[in-house]
Structures are given as structure tokens and as C-alpha cells.
């Protein structure tokens, strides 16, 4: 990673007429503060200049006590540089949408506005994302979570089951002036303005939230012309449980339990991202063996996560058989994970400083036995579904994300690599001993559903390769650094990202010196994949729409947090 030259950035912004302060903060990188009213100009300048900051990694808010800072995490893939743009807003301000500059901002802006009580202007679909009307702006510091007494007195919570209202209305600020829009990616079928349920002249169909194939509680509203989708809108928030808010009241080695339940099939990666962010701020040095163990379990978790994606992928297209065969393999994996961590699913294994247990010799033997049979089973399963002509006819040439669109929508992970962009955090921003391993990063050019399947299958093979190297070369040493029981990192800020099976799982952590985080932002790769999938629903048939949403690998626990 290159360090951004702050003088160059300052020059670019001054030429665009923006009064900005750019500085390099220790541990965080380049940070640029701009006035709220000049955010659009600043982002446009940064994107279109030679600096080439064309990739929006994340957009979120932080309640500093006096203001609400909206943070834009930008990345330049051409120059391999990162920049954080911060804009200060007042408590009842209006956020000017930057969706036309970075289409990846579509859903994060809605979420930030509802969580902090801001209004949104210039957005095609400015509805609340995760909560219903009448909900408080949960992430403001002024809002407290339930106390222990309230929780114990469970009987006093009253729910009038007959009068539940789930309308999520618009956060639009009608009085804000309309900004000039910038050109959108050419492949975008239509402006993602959602489906107008009342006034539509076409058939409006509702899928979910209870639906066999929506991979969790996702609601998709489709406007249909016959079987062809004219417009689509996804409604999320059915699983919004407040992981980010609850992290503010948990100790640092307990936040892992919350991260486990975000992306619940790839728990190790969530825990690891948080541990890395904490270690950056607290300056903890992790022993080499602990890092190797992190890699080992991370790769095993990657295989099991891809299995959970691959099985229902077949089920979406109607093939029941290979769903069950892959689950047979997953049972063997879960046995191994249970042997090492004690749990089949919510591991709570990676903590700041290292990992909780060392592996045992039985676990090692089980892993080797698993790898022996797994090579054969993987090829069988691949042939069974991917080699099937019916499946290929349904997935080749369908649901294409071209390179420009994938970058514009903030896609990461296999979704991005299937569109031809060769970016993998394990190789390009190495963490936890990945620089000591030899593995290939699969990249496909087609960008269709079949390409995404190919990339993930190849990743499973590469993961098996990494696991073998891990077992063969595991160094001696401690499995954790000596860390205080109650960790109190100094006040600071850091961003750490890992390559989870879904993409770039990042944690932006702000600490204030106490024993709980001040603000934890969980960058959900599945949210960015979801909005890309939603934007590209029009033009497909229903069956293809279903397979498309399945192919971008969504886990709603991560999308809703």
C-alpha cells in the first residue's frame, strides 16, 4: 500500500474550490476534513483527478458528541492508496447524497441517515433502510440501550401483536436544492428508485421475507411485465439487531460474540477484523503461531461458508441433490471446528492478542482426514452442478456485472474478482501471516453468475491448499499474546479489513480509552453486493432474478447487523 501524498491531495481539492484539511494520522492513514456543504465537490474532484479515488469502501457516521461526522472511506486501486474523507454535520442536518458519484452509497446513506436522525436529499429512494417509522436514531450517543433491570423484567415489555406497523417512510428533505447529477455507469438498467406499489400499472409481486429461496429474511418487491422484471426493490432490516450499537457496551474481548452473529457462517473473519482493529490501536503484537492458527481457521471457515452458498445455489435452480451432499461435507468441517473452538457456529475464538485455544493433535488428524476426502467430493459436487447443461444454460450470460459497474457499486471479494478486477486483501493488504503462504487468486472475466460460481469453487480449492501448507509448516510458539483481562486501548481510530468469503469485511473502530469501544462500524460486504444485485434485477426473468440474488452470496445477518 502506498501512502498518499497529502500535498497532492490538497492541491487537487483546492483546484476544485474545496477548503479542506488533509493530514496523515498515525495508525489510520490519510484523513481529509471537508465542510459538509462541499462534500460532493470534494468527492467528485478526488474521483476524477489523477489520484483516481474511484472506489468507495464504506460510508458511515460517528456521533462525536457535538457533531455527526460522516466518513467516506475511499480507495484508489490504480495507485493503491487510501483516504478517509470526513464531513461534519449538525444534529438535524441534511445529508447530500453522493450516489451518482459512487453508486455504492445508495444503501449506506439511507442507513446512516436513519441511524443518526439526518435527512437525505438527492437520493432516488430515500426510505428508511433498517428500521420502521417511529424508531429512534439508534446510533446517537444520546440513545441508551436497555438496562440490566429492564432486561430482567422481560414481562413488562408489551407488544400489541395486532397493531404492528412496518411502514418505512421517506427521509427526504423536500426543501433541499437539487444538486446536478453526474453520469451513471452505462450498464445500469434504470435509476434504482424502488417500486411504487400503489401507482404501478404492472403486476407487483412480493417475495419474502419468508421465502424458501431468499437466503434469509430478505424482502424483494418486483414489478413484473409477464415474467420479466421491470423494477425491483429490496427491503431489509428484518434482522436488525444492533450489533454496532451493542458493541459500544461490550468489553473488547466480548465484541467477538457480536461479530460472530453478524456474518454467521464466516464468524472467524468477523472476529478477526475486530481483533485486528483493536490490535492496531492498542499496539498489540500477535505471536506467529497465533497468526498461523488464525489463517488455518479462517480458511476452514471459508470452505464451510462457500459450501453454505453453493448448496442453496443449486437449490435455487432446483437441484436438491448436491445441496445435501455439500452439507455432508460441511458436517465434517463443523466437527473439526468444534474440536478446536468448542462450538459449531459461534466460535468466539479469535480475540485481540491471539486465539483462545491451541489446536490439538486429534484436530490436526481430523483436518488431514477431511482434506483427503474433500478433494474428491469437491470435484464431484463441482461436476454435478457446474457441469450440468441446464445449470449452465441458466447461468451463463445472465446477471452480468461489468468491471466498471462492479467497482462503482463497491463490490469486493469473489463478486469483484468474477468481473475481472484482481484484488484480494489477503495478497494486497496482507494480514495475519497470509504473506507467508503460497496461493492463487482466481479471477474471471465474464462477470456473469457462472463466473462467480467458478471463482468461489476455485477459492475452495485454494483454501484447501492453504490449509495443507498451514498444517505442514505450523511454527512453535504461543497461541496468544499476554493481554490484560480488561483491555483498555488508548483513544484512537483504526480501520482493519479482512477477506471474508463475501468480500472485504472491515471494522472501523473508534476508541476513547475506556474498556468498551466508542464506535464500531462493521463494513458489510453483503450490503454492497445486495444493492448491486437489486440495481441489476430489471431486465431479468423472475427465475433469473432469484438465481442472481443467490449468486452474490448474501447473509442477512451481515446486511442488517
Amino acid at each position: 500500500m502506498q501512502q498518499l501524498d497529502t500535498t497532492v491531495a490538497r492541491g487537487v481539492l483546492e483546484r476544485a474550490g474545496v477548503t479542506a484539511a488533509v493530514e496523515t494520522v498515525e495508525g489510520l492513514g490519510a484523513v481529509c476534513r471537508v465542510p459538509a456543504a462541499q462534500t460532493r465537490a470534494a468527492l467528485l474532484a478526488l474521483r476524477d483527478s489523477d489520484l483516481g479515488f474511484g472506489f468507495l469502501v464504506d460510508l458511515f457516521g460517528v456521533d462525536t458528541g457535538e457533531t455527526i461526522d460522516i466518513v467516506y472511506n475511499l480507495r484508489s486501486l490504480t495507485r493503491d492508496e487510501e483516504l478517509l474523507v470526513k464531513a461534519e454535520h449538525g444534529y438535524d442536518a441534511t445529508l447530500a447524497s453522493v450516489w451518482d458519484i459512487f453508486p455504492a452509497a445508495l444503501m449506506p446513506e439511507r442507513e446512516t441517515c436513519e441511524m443518526f436522525g439526518l435527512l437525505l436529499s438527492g437520493h432516488p429512494n430515500p426510505k428508511r433502510l433498517l428500521t420502521t417509522d417511529g424508531s429512534e436514531p439508534f446510533l446517537r450517543k444520546s440513545l441508551e440501550v436497555r438496562t440490566a433491570e429492564e432486561v430482567r423484567d422481560r414481562a413488562s415489555q408489551h407488544v400489541d401483536a395486532g397493531a404492528l406497523d412496518i411502514t418505512a417512510s421517506s427521509l427526504a428533505d423536500a426543501s433541499a436544492p437539487a444538486a446536478e447529477t453526474v453520469a451513471l455507469p452505462a450498464s445500469l438498467p434504470r435509476v434504482p428508485a424502488g417500486v411504487d406499489v400503489e401507482h404501478s400499472q404492472n403486476l407487483v409481486l412480493n417475495m419474502g421475507p419468508q421465502h424458501p429461496s431468499t437466503h434469509g429474511v430478505l424482502r424483494i418487491i418486483l414489478e413484473l411485465d409477464g415474467e420479466e422484471i421491470v423494477a425491483g426493490e429490496t427491503v431489509v432490516g428484518y434482522l436488525h439487531r444492533g450489533i454496532e450499537k451493542l458493541a459500544e457496551s461490550r468489553r473488547f474481548n466480548a465484541v467477538g460474540t457480536l461479530m460472530d452473529r453478524g456474518d454467521y457462517v464466516a464468524g472467524i473473519h468477523g472476529e478477526l477484523a475486530f481483533a485486528l482493529a483493536t490490535e492496531k490501536i492498542a499496539g498489540i503484537e500477535v505471536p506467529r503461531r497465533a497468526n498461523w492458527l488464525r489463517v488455518l481457521l479462517g480458511e476452514l471457515n471459508r470452505i464451510s461458508s462457500h459450501i453454505v452458498w453453493y448448496g442453496p445455489m443449486g437449490l435455487d435452480s432446483g437441484a436438491m441433490g448436491q445441496f445435501l451432499y455439500t452439507f455432508r461435507d460441511r458436517e465434517a468441517l463443523l466437527d473439526i471446528l468444534e474440536e478446536i473452538t468448542g462450538q459449531r457456529m459461534m466460535f468466539n475464538y479469535v480475540r485481540p492478542g491471539g486465539v483462545v485455544n491451541d489446536i490439538t493433535t486429534t484436530a490436526e488428524a481430523k483436518i488431514r482426514a477431511f482434506l483427503e476426502t474433500y478433494d474428491v467430493y469437491l470435484e464431484e459436487n463441482a461436476e454435478l452442478l457446474m457441469g450440468n447443461e441446464i445449470f449452465q444454460a441458466r447461468t451463463r450470460g445472465v446477471g452480468i456485472f461489468d468491471r466498471q459497474t462492479a467497482l462503482a457499486f463497491g463490490l469486493t471479494g469473489p463478486n469483484l474478482r468474477a468481473s475481472g478486477v484482481n484484488w484480494d486483501i489477503r495478497r494486497d493488504r496482507p494480514y495475519a501471516a497470509y504473506d507467508e503462504f503460497e496461493f492463487d487468486v482466481p479471477v474471471a472475466e465474464a462477470g456473469d453468475i457462472y463466473a462467480r460460481c467458478q471463482v468461489r469453487l476455485e477459492e475452495m480449492r485454494q483454501s484447501a491448499r492453504i490449509v495443507r501448507q498451514c498444517l505442514d509448516g505450523m511454527p512453535e510458539g504461543e497461541h496468544t499474546a499476554k493481554v490484560a483481562k480488561v483491555l483498555r486501548p488508548p483513544a484512537g481510530e483504526a480501520y482493519a479489513a479482512v477477506e471474508s468469503p463475501r468480500g472485504e469485511l472491515g471494522v472501523h473502530l473508534v476508541t476513547d480509552g475506556s474498556d468498551t469501544p466508542y464506535r464500531m462500524r462493521y463494513r458489510p460486504p453483503a450490503l454492497y453486493a445486495l444493492q448491486a444485485g437489486e440495481a441489476f434485477l430489471p431486465g431479468n426473468l423472475i427465475a433469473d432474478g432469484v438465481v442472481l440474488m443467490g449468486s452474490v452470496d448474501l447473509i442477512l445477518g451481515e446486511v442488517d447487523r
Binding site: P212, N388, D544
Partner: protein, 336 residues
Amino acid sequence: MNPWAVAALRFLAALGLMLVNGVVMIYMLRKVLAKLHVRMGPMDNGPHGMFQTVFDVLKLLTKEDVTPRAVDKWLYFLAPVIVVVPSLMGYMVLPFSRTAVIADLPYGLLFFFAVMAVVPLGTLAAGWSSNNKWSLIGAMRIVGSQVTYEVPMLLAALSVVMMAGSMSLSDIVNAQSGVFLGFIPRWFVWNVPAFVLFFISGLIESGQTPFDMAEAESELVSGFATEYSSMKFGLLFLSEFSNTFLFSALLVTLFFGGWQIPWVPGDLVQPIAPFVFMIKTYIGIFFIMAIRGTMPRVRVDQMLALGWKFLLPVSLGWVMITGVLIKLGHVVVGSR
């Protein structure tokens, strides 16, 4: 005996066969799928779970029969009937042995197809009357697909009729007696294009994977049957299996010699002919279920394109070619 009593007994036999088939086939489906999927299937309720379907049926009988307020009442009640009755009528013409045919019509095959053509109307009625967009889409898919594939199915059967020289199913079975070259049975399955066309079209007509888009569970919730509960759902469920049985039975009759055992004279087979017929039919059903548990589903427009643009011209062409071949060398002529 009083002809009315005989007719009533025959009707009851067909009804009984249909119900027993339903029970056995549902159990068979769960067991076949389970074994394919490295599982066990029903085990607790009866030895190896044999009574599972009986309990399922009893439970369905006593579920509350919910009629949503906004359904089209008459159609909603009639739809399961329209679906089940033609299926029952299809049993009437199947030749279980030389004499055990409920109604040995000289145009049995035509009667069979005419009656089965009513079934899509029933599923359309079910989907439309449910007042549920999912059911409607499921119903529209059925009508589109089943209307498309009735023609190739008929044409494929037509080439068999030409080879046998008659539309009566008993005659078709009799035309497949004897052997070629001393050991190859004179089954019409050697007319491979007709067999393949008939098999594909029949899979669609009976709504089986890879063409089960009417009840595409992962897309349409329960397709046209989404709003049906209790016994009405039971009837719709039963009709799907009944249609599969009929399709397999017709496959056996038209292509695999019906109740005959190869190399064994017909008279010797007569006492056990119905059992032979049922065994052959169930082997066919087994293959259909095995396909169901493995293959993905074809997309609707791809399936319709396959039907109109490929199967229809091919089946037309094959009918012509069969006629020419018969005329040229009496190569595939039957016992007439």
C-alpha cells in the same frame, strides 16, 4: 352379473388403485430422495416408515380447511376436482393384462390424451381462483408449458400408433409381443426418437423436474397450491403423483410391452400380468424420481423455446419418417 354392478366395481377398483398408488408413491418419493441424498427418509412410523403416508393423509383430513376470504369460491372448490377426476379417468384405459382393462376402448390412446388435456384447466383454475399472485404465475406457467408439450407428446405417440396400427392400448401392447432375431423383444422403445420425445414431453405434462416450474418450490413458494390447505391440498398433491403414475404407465404400455415379460409366452404371464405391469411402471417412476432429486430446473422461456422451436418440428418430422419407413420395408410393423 348386472352390468351396472360390474361398472361400479371397476370404478371402485380404479379409485382404489389411484389412492393406493398415491400413498405408495409419496412414501417411495421420500425414500428414494433420501437414499439419493445420503439420508434415511421416514423411519420411525412403522417398519422403515411404511405408515408415514397414512399418517400424513389422516393429518391432512383433520386440518382446518381455510378458505381465504378473497378467493373465487366456486372455482376454488372445483379446481381440485377438475384436477383429480380426469386423472382418475386415465386409469380406465390402461391394460393391466389381456382382459383386465376397465374400459377397452378402440381409441383408448386418444381418450387418454383428451382426458389428460383437462388437467391444465384445473391447475389454472386453482391458480386463478386463489387470488394470489404467486399461484397465478404458477398457473400461467403450467398452461404455457403443458399446452406447448401436448403436441409433441401426441405426435410421438402417433408414431407408435402407426407402428402398431391401432389406437387401442391393448392392441398396442399385443403388437409388442414376440422377438427380433431370436432374442430382442419387439418393444417400441427401439423407436428411440419417439421414446425420447415422449419421455421429455411427458415429464413436462406430469410436472416433474427438470420441468416442475409449476410448483417450483424455491421460486414460487408452493406455486398454484399455495393457498390450499387440508384435503383440497391433499387432492392436488395426490393428483401430481397420479399423473406421474399415468405417465409412467403409458410409457410402459407404449414402449416397453405393457404387461408382457420378454421371452415368456403371453398366456403364461396372464395370472401375474397386473403385477408385472405395476412393477414395470414403478421402475419407470423410480427413474423419474431419481431425476427429480438431481437435476436443476429449466427456466420457463428456455423450456417453451425447446418445445416450440425444437421438439415440435422434430416430432412432426419423425412422424413423417416413421410413416416412410413403415411403407418402405415394414421394418417396425407389429403383429397385424
